[in-house]
C-alpha cells in the first residue's frame, strides 16, 4: 500500500436500529453477532495502520450509537492509539439510542465532537421518514453532552421532505439557533435508487421549493451569526468541521468499513459495499482508482468550490506546479463573465449565484 500522509481517518459503522426511508448508505439492521464480527474485522484493518496518528477522526454510519455499550467501548479503545494530539474526534449519533453511559464512554476515549441526527423537530415528519426519536430525545442528548463537557455539537437537518412546508423548516431552524449549536448541516432530501422512498415512488420536491428552503436556511442562520461555509454546512465562528475540511481541501483521508471512500496519494478507493464480503474476504474494493493529474486537478476544484472561501490559489500551484488560472483558463474566464466566479489576489471562489448553480459551473471545468 502506498505510504500515506493522511491526516484524517473515516470509519463507517454499517448498523442501525431502524432503517430510515431516505437512506442509501451502507447499512443493515443492528445485530449483535454481526456487529461483533464487524468490530474484529475493523481491528484487522486498523492494525495495518499501526504507528500512524490522525488529526481528525470521524466515526460515521449507519449509526455508531447503535452499537451496544460494550461494543462501543471495544471500538473506541481500538481507535485510541490513532489519535494525534489535538485530534478532532467526531462520532455520529442518533438521539434514539445515545444513552448517558455511551456518552460517558465517548468522553473517556476522547471523542470531542458529536454529530447528532436531529433532521426535524416535527414528529409527523420524523415518523414519515422512519425515524424513531422525538425532539425531546434530541434535547435530552444535548443536555447530557454538555453536562459531560462535549460542547462541540453538530445537528443534521433535512428539507424537502414529503409534506414539509417552509414553516415546518423554519421551526427546526429556530430550534437549532436557540440551542446555540455551534455547527449545523442541512441536507436536501434526495431520492436515491436504493432507498425505501424510491421504492415507494416518493418524488423530490419541486426545484423552486427546494430553492426556497435553501434560501430560508441561509437567511435565518446568517442572521443568527452562522457562517455558510460550505454548500450544506453552517457554523459559528471557528467551528468548522475540521474533518470535512479535509474533504473540501482535497487532502488525504483513510477509509475503513464497508462502502467507505478514501483518498491516499494518487489513489482513491471505495471499500466494498457488500457487508458479507467485507466480513469474509479481507480487503475488497468496489473501486480503486489511480488518479491522473487531470483527475486530481478537477477533483480539487470540484471539492474546493463548495467552500464559501473557495480555493486558495497558492494551494493549487504548490500542489500541481502550475497556476489554476492557466489550467482552467476558459472555464474561469467564462464564469467570471457570467458573474458566477470571483477572483482575488489569493482566492478563487463562487459568487452567491455561482454557488446556487455550482454544478453548471463545474461542468465547464470538466473540459480542460
Amino acid at each position: 500500500m502506498e505510504q500515506s500522509k493522511a491526516k484524517s481517518l473515516y470509519i463507517h459503522i454499517p448498523f442501525c436500529q431502524h432503517i430510515c426511508e431516505y437512506c442509501d448508505f451502507v447499512r443493515v439492521g443492528y445485530h449483535q453477532d454481526l456487529a461483533d464480527r464487524f468490530l474484529r474485522r475493523c481491528e484487522e484493518d486498523l492494525s495495518l495502520r499501526q504507528g500512524e496518528t490522525f488529526e481528525t477522526i470521524y466515526i460515521g454510519g449507519g449509526t455508531p450509537s447503535a452499537l451496544s455499550v460494550k461494543q462501543l467501548e471495544i471500538m473506541l479503545r481500538m481507535i485510541k492509539p490513532f489519535r494525534a494530539v489535538e485530534c478532532e474526534f467526531t462520532m455520529e449519533a442518533n438521539p434514539e439510542n445515545f444513552s448517558e453511559d455511551k456518552i460517558e464512554l465517548c468522553v473517556e476515549y476522547g471523542v470531542n465532537r458529536i454529530s447528532l441526527g436531529v433532521q426535524s423537530v416535527q414528529s409527523k415528519l420524523l415518523n414519515l421518514i422512519g425515524r424513531k426519536h422525538t425532539l425531546e430525545d434530541a434535547e435530552n442528548v444535548i443536555t447530557l453532552l454538555r453536562k459531560h463537557g462535549i460542547d462541540n455539537i453538530s445537528a443534521d437537518g433535512m428539507y424537502g421532505l414529503p409534506t414539509q412546508n417552509l414553516d415546518d423548516f423554519k421551526e427546526t431552524l429556530t430550534w437549532m439557533i436557540n440551542q446555540k449549536l455551534p455547527h449545523v448541516s442541512l441536507y436536501a432530501l434526495t431520492i436515491e435508487p436504493n432507498s425505501a422512498f424510491e421504492r415507494k415512488h416518493i418524488k423530490s420536491v419541486d426545484n423552486s421549493l427546494e430553492g426556497d428552503f435553501y434560501q430560508l436556511a441561509e437567511n435565518m442562520l446568517s442572521d443568527a451569526g452562522y457562517l455558510h461555509y460550505e454548500i450544506s454546512n453552517f457554523c459559528l465562528p471557528d467551528k468548522e468541521s475540521r474533518h470535512n475540511l479535509t474533504y473540501w481541501h482535497y487532502e488525504d483521508f483513510v477509509a475503513i468499513g464497508p462502502g467507505a471512500s478514501g483518498k491516499e496519494g494518487h489513489r482513491r478507493y471505495t471499500v466494498t459495499k457488500n457487508i458479507h464480503r467485507y466480513l469474509t474476504e479481507g480487503i475488497v474494493f468496489d473501486e480503486d482508482i489511480r488518479l491522473s493529474t487531470v483527475d486530481e486537478m478537477f477533483e480539487f476544484v470540484m471539492m474546493g468550490l463548495r467552500l464559501k472561501k473557495g480555493i486558495e490559489k497558492v494551494r493549487f500551484s504548490d500542489r500541481f506546479g502550475v497556476t489554476i488560472e492557466v489550467v482552467f483558463k476558459d472555464a474561469i474566464v467564462k464564469n467570471i463573465e457570467k458573474g458566477w466566479l470571483i477572483l482575488s489576489d489569493t482566492l478563487i471562489f463562487p459568487s452567491d449565484d455561482g454557488r446556487l448553480f455550482l454544478h453548471d459551473l463545474l461542468i465547464d471545468f470538466m473540459e480542460i
Binding site: 427546494e210 482513491r268 471539492m303
Partner: protein, 600 residues
C-alpha cells in the same frame, strides 16, 4: 460453373417468424459456417440489426448443398429487409432470385407485411415455397395456417414443409424443395454482361463494393465496366462471393451472386437496381425495375456541435451508398444552423439512419420532427411541394393544400376491430371496407393521411391490439385537406425547426398537447421560458417552464468523490444531447414532441 446446378432464393417472413433462424440453420446444415464461427443470426451483420432483431440490410451468401439426387448444388441465399419501409430494396433483392421461401409462423399465420412481400415476389415471377415454422410450439396450428396460405395468397400449401428452424426439424425438406422447385437461372453466358446491383457497401480501402447478380454474360478482374443508370466507367479490381466470409475469385459467371470492387470512390455512381454492363460492346437495354426512390418522410438532421457539419456530410455520403433509399440535401435553419434535409422511406428507416450516424460515425444529432411532402396550391395557380413545414408560404398566398394519403391494410383479430377503428378515426382516417379473412381475423381498409401515421401509428396500433395487429400501406395519392402551419415559440422566438403542418380542426388540441409535452421535456434553465403554439401569428396555446432556482446538490456524501463526480458527468452527458436554440438548451426529444397527439 454449370447454371443447371445453381439456385438463387430469398427468405420472406414477418418479423419474429424465424427468417434469420432458418437462414442460420441452413448455413449450418450446408457446413457453410462451421459451428465455431456460428454466431446466432449470422446474416444480420449490423449491430443495430442484431439488437433490434430486424433485418435492415441485404446480404448474400453462397452455399454448397449435395441433394438427394447426388448432385452438388450452389445456393445463393439473399437476405431481404423485413420491414414495410424497405419495399424497393426488397424488390431488388427479389429480382436477383428465381425463388423465395415463405416462412409463416405456425401459430400466428400470415401478417400484412408478409403479404406485401409475397406480392412483390410474385411480381418478380418467383417460385414461392411456403414453409410452416415453429411447429414445435404448443400453440402451433399448421392446418389452419396452410388453409390460410391457400385462401389468402392462393398458393398450394398442402405439402409445405412443417419445420422448426430452431431445432432443425425438417429443414432438410426445405433444401430439397429449393432444389426441386426453384428454377435454375436462365440467362445467356455468352451475351454481353448484365449484372443487377442489389446492394453496396463502402470499404475505406477498396471503395464501393457492389453486390450483384449476374443475369447475362460474365465478369472478370480487369474488365472495363459501366454502371448504366449512372453512366459511370470503372475497371474491375477484385470480385468474389461471400460464404458469408469474403472469398476472392477471378470471375463471376452467369447465374451467380457475388461482389465487385472497382476502386469506386464516388459513392454516387452506385445505385441499387442499376445494371452493370461491359464498357465496350455492352448491353443496350438495362435490366427492368430500376427507379429512383421517392422519399415518403423528411426531417432535418443537424449536428449538435456545429463544427461537425462536414463530418455529418461525409457520414451521410457513406451511408447513402449502403442505403440507396436515403436522400439528403443541405439546408439551413435559423435555430439549428447548418444541416441536411433528409428523405426516408419511413419512420423506422429514419430512426435507423439516425442511430447509425450516431453510432458508426460518432455524431450527436438533432432530428426535427418527420414531415411528409405537402402540396401548396398558390393563388397564382402554381403548386409548391413542401417537405419542410417552416418553408410553407404565407397563408394569404395559398389557395388550398393537399396532403398524401395511403391505402392502409390492417390485419387484426376480430375482438380488436373497435380499438383499431377508433385509432384510425383519431388519425383522420377514412373508412373504406372490412373483410373477414377467416373466423377470427379481419382486414380493415382505410385511407389515412401519411403525415398522421409516420410518427407513432404502428406503436399505437400494436398497443391497441396487444401486438396482434399488423399493417401495410401504399401511397394512394394527394387529396385536399384543411391544413395550417403551426409555429412554436420558445422564449417568444419562433423556432423554425419546430414548425409543423396540422389539420385546422385538430390545431387547438395539438397546440395544447405539444406545449405541454415540451414543458415536460425541456429541462428548467436559469430563467422562465414560455412555450407557445401559434397559427398565423395568433397564439393558441401556452405552457411555461419555470426558472431553475438552483443546481447544486446539498446532499450528505462527505468523502464520496466518485458520486459527486458521476453526478456531474451525467449532467455533462445530458448537456451534450442538447442544442442551444437562442438562449434555451433544448434536448433532442423535444424536437419530436411536436408530433404529440395527447398530453401523455
Amino acid at each position: 460453373m454449370n447454371q443447371k446446378y445453381i439456385r438463387n432464393f430469398s427468405i420472406i417472413a414477418h418479423i419474429d417468424h424465424g427468417k434469420s433462424t432458418l437462414a442460420d440453420r441452413i448455413l449450418e446444415m450446408t457446413k457453410t459456417v462451421d459451428n465455431r464461427e456460428m454466431m446466432e443470426q449470422m446474416l444480420d451483420t449490423l449491430d443495430l440489426e442484431r439488437e433490434r432483431g430486424i433485418t435492415i440490410k441485404l446480404n448474400a451468401v453462397q452455399l454448397k448443398y449435395t441433394a438427394n439426387d447426388g448432385h452438388e448444388y450452389t445456393f445463393h441465399l439473399i437476405d431481404t429487409p423485413g420491414h414495410v419501409d424497405f419495399t424497393y430494396e426488397v424488390s431488388r433483392s427479389l429480382a436477383a432470385c428465381e425463388g423465395a421461401v415463405l416462412v409463416v409462423d405456425a401459430s400466428q399465420g400470415i401478417e400484412a407485411q408478409t403479404l406485401a412481400n409475397v406480392y412483390l415476389a410474385l411480381d418478380n415471377n418467383l417460385e414461392i415455397i411456403p414453409v410452416i415454422n415453429k411447429v414445435d410450439l404448443p400453440a402451433a396450428d399448421p392446418i389452419r395456417v396452410i388453409e390460410e396460405i391457400e385462401n389468402v395468397i392462393g398458393l398450394e400449401a398442402t405439402n409445405a414443409p412443417q419445420i422448426s428452424a430452431k431445432t432443425g426439424l425438417n429443414v432438410e425438406q426445405v433444401l430439397e424443395a429449393i432444389v426441386a422447385r426453384v428454377p435454375a437461372p436462365q440467362g445467356d453466358p455468352d451475351a454481353p454482361l448484365k449484372a443487377l446491383v442489389f446492394d453496396s457497401i463502402y470499404d475505406s480501402y477498396r471503395g464501393v463494393i457492389a453486390y450483384v447478380r449476374i443475369k447475362e454474360g460474365s465478369v472478370k478482374i480487369g474488365d472495363k465496366i459501366r454502371f448504366m443508370a449512372a453512366n459511370a466507367f470503372y475497371e474491375v479490381v477484385e470480385c468474389g462471393i461471400r460464404t458469408p466470409k469474403e472469398i476472392k475469385r477471378n470471375s463471376l459467371s452467369c447465374g451467380e451472386v457475388g461482389w465487385i470492387a472497382a476502386s469506386i470512390k464516388s459513392v454516387k455512381d452506385v445505385h441499387v437496381g442499376d445494371t452493370i454492363t461491359s464498357a465496350q460492346h455492352g448491353a443496350i437495354e438495362p435490366l427492368p425495375g430500376y427507379r429512383t426512390l421517392n422519399s415518403m418522410v423528411f426531417c432535418g438532421l443537424y449536428p449538435i456541435e456545429s463544427n461537425r457539419y462536414n463530418d455529418l456530410r461525409d457520414a451521410l455520403e457513406k451511408l447513402q451508398l449502403n442505403d440507396a433509399s436515403l436522400k439528403y440535401e443541405a439546408e439551413t435553419s435559423q435555430a439549428l444552423g447548418f444541416g441536411f434535409r433528409c428523405g426516408f422511406l419511413g419512420l423506422l428507416h429514419m430512426d435507423v439512419v439516425q442511430e447509425r450516424l450516431e453510432r458508426e460515425y460518432n455524431l450527436s444529432l438533432i432530428a426535427t420532427a418527420p414531415s411528409v411532402v405537402y402540396h401548396a396550391f398558390m393563388t397564382d395557380g402554381s403548386m409548391i411541394s413542401v417537405d419542410n413545414p417552416s418553408l410553407l408560404p404565407d397563408v394569404q398566398k395559398i389557395h388550398h393544400m393537399e396532403e398524401p394519403f395511403v391505402k392502409a391494410t390492417i390485419m387484426v383479430p376480430t375482438e380488436y376491430v373497435g380499438p383499431v377503428m377508433e385509432l384510425c378515426q383519431k388519425k383522420r382516417g377514412i373508412y373504406k371496407e372490412m373483410i373477414a379473412v377467416d373466423a377470427g381475423r379481419m382486414h380493415l381498409h382505410y385511407l389515412l393521411p401519411l403525415g398522421e401515421i409516420v410518427y407513432d401509428f404502428f406503436d399505437r396500433l400494436k398497443s391497441a391490439t396487444r401486438g396482434y395487429a399488423s399493417y401495410d400501406y401504399e401511397l394512394d395519392g394527394y387529396y385536399e385537406s384543411k391544413l395550417v402551419k403551426m409555429d412554436i415559440l420558445l422564449n417568444s422566438e419562433v423556432v423554425d425547426a419546430l414548425s409543423t403542418i396540422v389539420h385546422r380542426d385538430f390545431a387547438y388540441a395539438r397546440g395544447k398537447a405539444i406545449t405541454e409535452k415540451m414543458r415536460k421535456l425541456i429541462p428548467r434553465q436559469q430563467f422562465e421560458i414560455p412555450i407557445q403554439a401559434a397559427i398565423n401569428n395568433k397564439i393558441i396555446a401556452r405552457s411555461d417552464i419555470k426558472a431553475l432556482r438552483k443546481n447544486v446538490l446539498a446532499k450528505c456524501y462527505g468523502g464520496d468523490i466518485t458520486r459527486k463526480k458521476k453526478l456531474l458527468e451525467k449532467q455533462k452527458e445530458g448537456k451534450k444531447r442538447m442544442k442551444q436554440v437562442g438562449s434555451v438548451e433544448v434536448p433532442q426529444e423535444a424536437f419530436m414532441a411536436v408530433l404529440s397527439m395527447d398530453e401523455d
